[in-house]
Symmetry: C2
DNA sequence: CGCCATTGTTTACAGCTGTAATCGCATCGT
DNA sequence: ACGATGCGATTACAGCTGTAAACAATGGCG
């Protein structure tokens, strides 16, 4: 039997550049370093070397796995995007709103960061949730 | 007439430690370095020296003003907390939700980061806004 | 008048981040 | 069998961040 890996709560933070690499792997995995570079290096303008460095760091942080495939590696996320998003969101809510998520929503609303469409969507969402 | 300083959109980022200092100044200002250290250093466990460094960096980033008062300075925020919160929130929404604020709310809801009370509050908020 | 406390400034230094270049080894084509 | 190529690992290095210590100037107290 396999040891149940706890749902990814890595202590080490994922940096901005690293996240771009994660996005590629969340979109499609497994990928080789070259493939990741193709996917992200394009818009980011990074060299293959840079992508390799980021991949190594992510492996070190246990955010991705490197499975040997012949002489190279196939990389796959260990950290799920939903978990990452959750951790980051929580961090922000804690840091800026004293942990009160409703305050965030209130702020977004007041700052007019919410379009009419956003408001409608949220309203619909709420109806769903309160049912 | 005074030149209208644009509502604080400093390019430089405020780091975590720096934010703690800002919080002190947002709570009460102006304050001397020693007073800030008293307010912040307590819970953070920072030395006065550390607080001084952070204040200098914040002045450098144009996030606070240092008004001379005899041989020392009185520090006050230049960046409003609401603006800071806005910038950080936007950054998160962009980075994690492709700029769609409603997605953030959806995520918080799904992750059960929203309590029953939060939901009620948001609902009330929405009613206000749609009026 | 001299010394200590206070205050801002300068310097320090390790760890993280962005962004690579280089190295050494393996492999594939000829 | 040999050289070009591809790949991961190692090394590099500047800028930001956390966390201070050291220093210099000044002002208050005895």
């Amino acid at each position: 039997m396999t040891i149940p890996t706890d749902p990814a709560q890595l202590s080490e933070r994922i940096s901005g550049a690293e996240q771009a690499v994660m996005e590629a792997l969340w979109t499609r995995a497994p990928l080789t370093a070259a493939e990741v570079a193709d996917a992200v290096g394009e818009e980011q303008g990074w060299s293959l070397a840079t992508v390799k460095t980021l991949l190594s760091r992510l492996v070190g942080k246990n955010a991705i796995a490197a499975e040997p495939d012949g002489r190279r590696f196939l990389y796959s996320p260990l950290l799920a995007r939903a978990d990452f998003v959750g951790q980051e969101s929580r961090r922000l809510v804690d840091r800026l709103f004293g942990g009160r998520a409703a305050s965030l929503v209130a702020h977004l609303a007041e700052a007019e960061a919410l379009t009419e469409r956003d408001l409608a969507e949220i309203e619909t969402l709420l109806k769903e949730l309160r049912k």
